[in-house]
Each structure stands twice: as C-alpha cells, then as structure tokens.
Symmetry: C2
Subunit: 274 residues, 2 copies
C-alpha cells in the first residue's frame, strides 16, 4: 500500500456486549452469570448480500475488511470506498470505488470448514494460496514464552464471560493487535483488517490464537504473510500438512512452558525449561 | 417415517484417520505425536456441488444425511435415493428420487456462523425454525451426571489426538449415539443423520456436546426435537436467548459435578453435591 493511498471511510461502531443472565448452578441456586454477545452482521457489497457473520462486535469494520481480504475478494484497499456498520439493521455496507460490486465472484462455490468461527472459504482463495508461501525465519523459544506470558492482559471478554476466542499479532515479543470474538475466524480476520488498514506486514511476526490450527487458519496465516502460529490448542493433519507446504511453523498446545511444535527446525531452543 | 419407507442406499466408507507426525517439544526433543485427520468431503446433489465439509470422516454418509436434514433441504428421507462416498475423489454423491436436485434452494443466501464446525446455515432454516418449538420436560440432575460420567468411554479420537469435538445423544441416561469430528457441527449433524435413518425422535433425550452452545447449535437442537443441551463449554447470548424462545434448557460448563444451567426451571435437583 502506498502512503498516498486513500483509506476507506469507516464508521466506528464497535460494541462490547457482555450480558448478565439468570442461571442456576449444581446446588440449585439462582445467580447471574456473564454471557458473551453474539450478533449477526450481514455484509453487503454495493447493496448485494455477501454473507452474515456472527460476531461479538468489538471491531466490526475491521472484521469486514479482514473478511474481504482473507477471502481474497479485493486486491487492494483502494478498491473499497467505505464500510458502514449499522447495528439497528445488523448491517455492514461496503461501497466499492467503482460501485460495481463483486462481479467475478462465484458465491456458489464455497468450502465450509471445521473452523470455530466463520468457517467459509470461497474457493478462489485456494487458487491464490500458493502465491503466499512464507519465508521461514529463526524463532526464539524465549519469544514464544514472551507471547504466552502477555495474553492474560488482553483477553477481557474471555475473563468476563468465557466462550470467546482471542487472537494476537506480535512483533519482537510485543503485542501489535489483540482481538476477541465468538469465532476464532472472526478474530483472525479482524486482525487481518487492522494489518491491511495500518499497512502492517506479517513478516517476522508471531500470530497467537486460542483456537485450533485447522487448515483454514493456516491458509489465512499464509494470506497474511505470517510464518509462526501459536495456539494453546492442537492442530489437525491437514493444518499441519498445509503449514509444511507453505513454510509455516506451528507451535501447538502452548500453555505455560509447554508446547508441541511442527515444522520446527527453525526454532532456537534458548530457554529450555529445567 | 413409516416402517414401509425405503431407506436410502448408503456406502459404508467411514475412516478413522489419526496420523503420527514428527514434532518437537519445549525441551527441543523430537517425538511423534498423534494428529487428527481433517478430510475435505464435497457434497453433490444430483451432480450439483452443494458444499465442501471438512471432516474426520468416521461416518461420512450419516454426516451428509444429517447435514441435508439440519439445513432443511429435504422434508423426508424417501426423497433421497442414495448417498455414495468416494474418498478417492473426496466426494459424497447424493442422488434424489426424482433426480431433480435442490431446485428451490437459494445457495447465495447463507449465514456463516460462529460455529466450530461447518458453520453455515442456509437462510431457509430460520424460516422453518419456529415450527420446531420443543416441549419442556422435567430434567433430573442425576441424569445429567449419568451423561457426564459416561463420556470418557466414547471419545476415542479425542483421547488419541485431541483437537476434535464429541457429541452424544442420550435417552434415560444411556448413550444412543456418540460421534467425534473435527467440527462440532459435523458431529451434531452426523447424529441427526443417524436419528433420521433409525427413526429416533429427540423427545426425552439429552444432547451432549464438547463445543460451545452458540445460536446455531441451539437451532439444530430444535430441528432435531431435542430440549436439553449439555456442554462442558459455555453459551453465547444469542444461544441462550434462542434456547429460551424455543423451550430448550442449556446445561453449560458441565464438568464433573459442576454446571451452569439456563432456562432451568424444569431441573429437579435430586443429586446436589455436598
């Protein structure tokens, strides 16, 4: 993205919807518990419905941008004039520069995936994927631990209500962006939206997610130029195979000092536990 | 389903794909770890592609039937002549009795959800949902504990490799069906397929899932006639609201003797912990 490029106009209609709901526990006692919001947000491009995402809603404009980017529906941010979110209508209206919508997209050819989260990849994504092989760089174990040590300060909705996923982008062990959403795909797409807007490249960064490292998460990492995925959860066989082909290192089951790493020959073990 | 009805012809091409993959742990040591398979399965109806599901693959024919049922694409099982799974082509071919496919389905109007799992609901589902309000029945706490006590005997893939979801259908505290898949939606749909085939009604049954109780899981429960959902995980606000409207009791955070129940006025607390 060149510095002279006009950024899309965005509304700023994020919400943080934690609800207090009556519940009963195993002793039969009534109490109020926090429950995370899950809001439908229908995305229209030049007035044509593309998809409805279910989201916590904290950064809906970036979610929409990142969704469009990770579905490879736009090549460049300057093709998008504006994104306006209206929770009264549960609608995100995307207006393109030319006003001619997504004319080349075959919406009938979608892959529905295992993902926690939005779980749909338009098939065109797969064709473009191998243009996005990432460059493997050395990974310090001490940086993995810096990432893991920082998460507790960012997962606000999780600590309040549980049942949400968190994702973070880290450079030099420092958080660049952190987002929570009811689906791990939405959280990842929202960070993709922020990276697109702020012109943040994925090189030399780590991506942390609370969700599993399935094939689609690995695909999104490749599209975002990210070569290190860290998860407190596991991977699937297709996630691992795809990561190997694309040059992505997977740090799975990462909790406290433990992890199980795949495609791990570039890890420098500089902080082995006793 | 009348007893005279012809059941669809099904292949029996289930696979249990656990892979041994080289990995490195936090000590830098190489070892082999089990990773769950994640296989693409493209569903065609009368030769027209409907969707690609990512699945562990243990009961693909029932998965396809349950997917079709929970998307409310067929009213009756006798409209389906056969389901043939061919892993060589990653293809499930559905042949309808009349051979005229899904002519009334608008594939462009899909909702992509928060779900772990397939996460897409064709919008027609929502219109039909309120025909499926369930009848609330008393729930014994002791039956909840019988369900929770039984799970360990069924979650084979989870114990071998992790990173899969499990779902079980229980009547009188006994398991009727249990299935694991990489996505919680696939697992639930596979049980829906089995219920359809075996003419098992959802009344007076409990449905256990390891996944979160999001809106779409609650919708599927209603379609399957199930009025009690138990999860070791939490719920979202939309999941809880929809459950309240549809008459479904949610037993969330159910682990060992603990739980947090919503829409819980029908629980009989006959086995309170000390």
């Amino acid at each position: 993205m060149s510095k002279a490029m006009l950024l899309p106009e965005l509304t700023d209609h994020g919400v943080m919807s934690i609800h207090k709901i009556d519940a009963r526990n195993q002793f039969g006692l009534s109490n109020q518990v926090n429950v995370a919001g899950e809001l439908p947000l229908t995305v229209e491009v030049d007035g044509v419905v593309l998809v409805t995402l279910m989201t916590l809603g904290t950064q809906p404009e970036k979610l929409v941008l990142g969704y469009l980017r990770n579905q490879t529906l736009f090549d460049s941010l300057d093709q998008i004039k504006s994104v306006s979110v209206d929770w009264g209508k549960n609608l995100a209206s995307v207006v393109t520069l030319n006003g001619d919508g997504l004319k080349d997209v075959d919406l009938n050819n979608r892959t529905v995936t295992t993902g926690c989260g939005q779980g749909t990849v338009l098939s065109c994504t797969l064709d473009k994927l191998y243009d996005h092989r990432v460059v493997k760089a050395p990974i310090r174990q001490s940086d993995i631990y810096r990432v893991l040590g920082s998460i507790q300060s960012f997962n606000r909705a999780y600590r309040a209500a549980g049942s949400v996923h968190g994702c973070g982008l880290y450079k030099d062990g420092q958080v660049v962006a952190f987002i929570e959403d009811v689906g791990r795909h939405n959280a990842m797409d929202t960070i993709a939206g922020e990276m697109w807007l702020e012109d943040i490249k994925g090189e030399n960064s780590f991506f942390y997610t609370t969700g599993r490292l399935t094939s689609e998460i690995v695909m999104k990492a490749a599209l975002m130029g990210i070569s290190v995925l860290i998860s407190r959860n596991g991977t699937t066989h297709m996630g691992q195979e795809l990561a190997e082909e694309l040059g992505i290192t997977l740090i799975s089951r990462a909790k406290s000092r433990q992890f199980i790493a795949f495609n791990a020959e570039n890890i420098i073990f500089d902080e082995k536990p006793e």
